[in-house]
């Protein structure tokens, strides 16, 4: 176990180094940060002095070396716009995005598994055919269109749902703002979560269905039938657990992608999270914040995938995290 984590840690370092190099190397291509930071009144000479002070005139490798050194101390630079350390800015926005992703994941888990299992068990039922048809449509509609449609129908026409922002939130432990403890907060998170889940949900329904169909044709399911077990036990004990193995693997990757998708959802719903923040940072050429965001999301990917691999090892006894023989 410890050895697995150590191995993972070393891999993570390599991954983070590659991400840092990539994200840092695009920084020169994003426009002049000075133009955003300073007004018209600042002269070219003064700008040059500022550039020197900020180290923007140094060679690339020197800048990169400095960046890595600071990053190792937990300092990913200072946002040009917010005038705050980028990590502080990101951590402040983090809860909103994580809660949104969490809510969307809940929707996906609680819909995709029952629907996928149902359509695998009864493939000829009209409802299964309906699910499959809808999921094709769902995959083809882009997230922002779903979001706009939701706002148009439920906020503009029916007036049932708030259309933007987080609404009323509660502070937890002095730091974490949560939507889940007030009625208003929950109302606010519903539509963004639906929009965010809309692209992944059909994919997962189809994945669960396909895996379940495969498991149902396996020998051990036939053997379970021959043992005289009840259908419910065969489906939900023997088949479902095996079905979940590949779903978990794919799920791990998709959660990371979903965090990235929040950029679209958050900007449509004015959700004050990391995605919205990133879009603003791009508009303002706030390079340290952009770089820090990319690094942070990369880090999130690594962490989530490690957790998923651990979970996989717990569920599947044949997997040995170290490749050790039994």
């Amino acid at each position: 176990m410890l050895q697995f984590l150590l191995k993972r840690f070393l891999q993570a370092i390599v991954v983070m180094l590659i991400i840092s190099l990539l994200s840092f190397s695009i920084k020169d291509k994003l426009g002049d940060p000075l133009r955003e930071m300073t007004g018209q009144s600042v002269s070219e000479a003064e700008r040059e002095v500022m550039r020197d002070e900020m180290g923007l005139n140094d060679p690339f490798l020197v800048q990169y070396g400095r960046f890595i050194k600071d990053a190792l101390h937990g300092d990913l630079g200072t946002s040009y716009f917010h005038k705050l350390p980028t990590m502080t800015v990101i951590l402040k926005k983090l809860p909103a995005t994580l809660e949104l992703t969490f809510a969307a994941s809940l929707i996906i888990i609680f819909l995709s598994i029952p629907l996928g299992v149902f359509s695998a068990i009864k493939p000829k039922h009209w409802f299964s055919k309906f699910i499959m048809a809808v999921s094709i449509v769902g995959i083809s509609i882009p997230v922002f269109l779903t979001a706009l449609a939701l706002i148009y129908i439920f906020s503009v026409k029916l007036g049932w749902m708030p259309s933007f922002g987080r609404g009323e939130t509660v502070h937890l432990f002095g730091y974490w703002e949560t939507n889940f403890l007030t009625k208003d907060g929950i109302l606010h998170i519903i539509m963004p979560a639906i929009a965010l889940s809309s692209i992944m949900l059909p994919l997962f329904i189809r994945l669960v269905r396909a895996e379940m169909l495969e498991v149902l044709s396996s020998e051990y399911v036939k053997f379970a039938k021959a043992k005289g077990l009840k259908a419910g036990k065969i489906y939900f004990k023997h088949a479902l657990k095996n079905t979940m193995l590949p779903v978990i693997t794919v799920g791990g990757v998709q959660i990371g992608i979903m965090v990235a998708y929040t950029i679209l959802t958050e900007s449509v719903f004015q959700w004050p999270g990391m995605g919205f923040m990133f879009l603003e940072a791009v508009n303002r050429s706030d390079i340290p914040l952009i770089v820090a965001y990319i690094m942070f999301v990369g880090f999130l990917f690594v962490v989530v995938n490690t957790l998923v691999d651990l979970l996989y090892g717990v569920i599947n006894p044949t997997v040995n995290l170290l490749g050790k023989s039994k």
């Binding site: 020998e219 005289g228 657990k241 599947n316 006894p317």
Partner: protein
């Protein structure tokens, strides 16, 4: 009254083109404590009968007619819950492959206890006690510990024991064993069959044993039913049916089985199964392209293997001393003479296939040397030379279903090695491929078809034609017939023998099937755990085995020579 009575059972598989009758008006019965063998070739409907009894047919199969009675109670036509209560509690099932019939994610305890609770309705504690009792009965050591383990922690034979224990856990009156030992080694097969036999006698349970292996039938069954294309052609006491078969199909089927006891020149063919196209153009190998092999050294030993070592890493670790390795081949040395058939025998994991793969260049040995036709193949800097001799060394693989590219036409599959090695002019290739197809008994017209249009035996012919396409001197046959039915096996083995005579081929024949080895090989090496234990002339080895393990293998080999002795003495099929 018998335990199980089947009357006029008919099972159909409707498809687009109409209805296929898989089982046609079969009637048979099983008594308590008796083992009834159900024998036939693939597609004869023997497994379908077993599945049909408890309605586990795969879709769209259905029982179209007939009556199944268990203990005087009609169970055919039962629906849903009522048939479910029969499964497990009244009729237990054992499937072919113990590697796949247990759920990999649950412990043995979990899978056994749920069955017992489900069938007998006892408490968890009692079910657990019963499970441990059953595991002891089927011969699992330390059942209290082993029951907490997962299926992957058991070997194949041990898993099949667990499967048998689970099949027994609902205290059924009848057990249907569908090829229970086909996936197992000879020594394990023997143990499992003995176990089933003992359990049937002790518990007075009836058993239907579905198998294609005549040796198994001869050794364990009391009575046997022979199926041919869904019809029951013969049923009776095992010794009567095997010793004095009445139906022509049974007669030819029995004569096609390779005998362990004596060597014959050719295998009698089962004509009723798969007719070879007649009137094919046969080629005169003395003048044909196929016979004009390029020059080679006239050495006595075509293949010399010396101190071959290969180990696989089974446990990785940071420090070298903590790593664990499995010695797949351990200082193996032997040589194969020009024109002889050399057999390599062993149980799974003995390293026999690994040697074949190393000779064919699919795997690199850790150390040792392989000299083929006077050229060192291992770490030889002269790559061109190695390539040119390798071309005269071809391999035929075990599974004809996966060793042909399903997206290529047959003629392209066979032409590929010719074109790759520039062995013939481009405009001649088509003709050569056609001749090859004729020669292996498929006919040149079949060249435009794709692999899925052929049966297993025909596919193996294609593999042979492909192997011949480089005009090899050495053919490595890795279990070439173990995926085939006995009648088809006879055809393929005959073909290989003919080719060997005509072309003067040298053969390295790898198999776990001792009777086949006896029929095919001049000399045999017995392997175990990567080592060669004994190397002898085939006849000497079978008559006077020196090594203890060889004797054990020979003893365990299921044979029905004794039973069919009369038949072979009297008739010449």
């Amino acid at each position: 009254m018998s335990l199980l009575e089947i009357e006029n059972l008919t099972i159909e598989f409707p498809n687009r083109h109409g209805t296929e009758v898989a089982v046609d008006k079969v009637s048979l019965s099983v008594n308590a404590g008796e083992i009834l063998g159900l024998v036939g070739e693939s597609g004869a409907g023997k497994s379908t009968i077993g599945n049909g009894i408890v309605q586990l047919l795969s879709k769209p199969g259905r029982v179209a007619a007939g009556k199944v009675t268990l203990n005087g109670e009609v169970i055919s036509g039962l629906q849903g819950e009522s048939i479910r209560k029969i499964r497990g509690s009244k009729i237990g099932f054992i499937f072919q492959d113990p590697m796949t019939s247990l759920n990999p994610l649950f412990t043995i305890e979990n899978q056994m206890v749920e069955t017992i609770i489900n069938c007998l309705g006892v408490s968890y504690k009692e079910a657990l006690e019963r499970s441990i009792e059953l595991l002891t009965k089927v011969g699992i050591p330390e059942p209290e510990v082993r029951i907490k383990q997962y299926p992957h922690q058991f070997s194949g034979g041990m898993r099949q024991r667990v499967v048998i224990a689970i099949a027994l856990s609902g205290e059924p009156d009848l057990i249907i064993a569908d090829e229970p030992t086909t996936a197992l080694d000879v020594s394990v097969q023997d143990q499992i069959l003995k176990l089933i036999q003992d359990l049937c006698t002790d518990l007075q349970v009836g058993c239907i044993l579905v198998t294609h292996d005549m040796g198994v039938i001869a050794n364990v069954t009391n009575r046997v039913a022979v199926l041919y294309r869904g019809k029951l052609v013969e049923i009776g006491e095992t010794k009567d049916v095997l010793g004095n078969p009445q139906h022509p199909y049974t007669q030819s089927l029995i004569s096609a089985v390779p005998l362990a006891g004596k060597k014959v020149d050719r295998f009698p063919l089962v004509e009723t199964i798969e007719s070879i196209e007649s009137g094919l153009k046969s080629i005169d190998v003395t003048t044909h392209w196929l016979g004009q092999s390029s020059q080679h050294h006239n050495t006595d030993d075509l293949l010399i293997i010396k101190d071959l070592n290969l180990s696989f890493l089974t446990q990785d670790a940071f420090f070298k001393k903590n790593r664990k390795r499995l010695q797949a081949t351990d200082n193996v040395s032997f040589s194969v003479k020009q024109g002889e058939s050399f057999g390599l025998v062993g149980e799974s994991g003995s390293g026999k296939s690994t040697i074949a793969r190393m000779i064919a260049g699919l795997q690199q040995p850790d150390s040792g040397s392989i000299v083929y036709d006077g050229v060192e193949l291992i770490n030889n800097p002269d790559k061109e030379k190695v390539k040119s001799v390798r071309q005269r060394l071809q391999m035929i693989f075990q599974n004809p279903y996966s060793s042909l590219n399903s997206r290529m036409k047959i003629k392209d599959i066979i032409a590929e090695p010719i074109l790759y090695h520039h062995l013939a002019k481009t405009n001649e290739v088509e003709g050569i491929v056609g001749d090859l197809l004729d020669h292996v008994g498929l006919g040149r017209k079949s060249g435009v078809k794709y692999p899925h249009e052929f049966s297993g035996g025909q596919r193996q012919r294609i593999s042979i034609a492909r192997a011949l396409a480089t005009r090899p001197r050495l053919l490595i046959c890795d279990e070439p017939t173990s995926a085939l039915d006995v009648s088809v096996q006879a055809q393929i083995l005959n073909l290989l023998k003919d080719l060997q005579d005509e072309l003067g081929l040298t053969m390295l024949f790898i198999s776990h099937d001792l009777p086949v080895i006896r029929q095919m090989c001049d000399r045999v090496a017995i392997m175990r755990q990567g080592k060669i234990l004994e190397l002898q002339q085939t006849e000497d080895l079978f008559e006077h085995p020196k090594d203890k393990y060889t004797r054990e293998l020979l003893d365990l080999m299921p044979r029905f020579d004794d039973l069919t002795h009369d038949l072979n003495a009297n008739s010449h099929v």
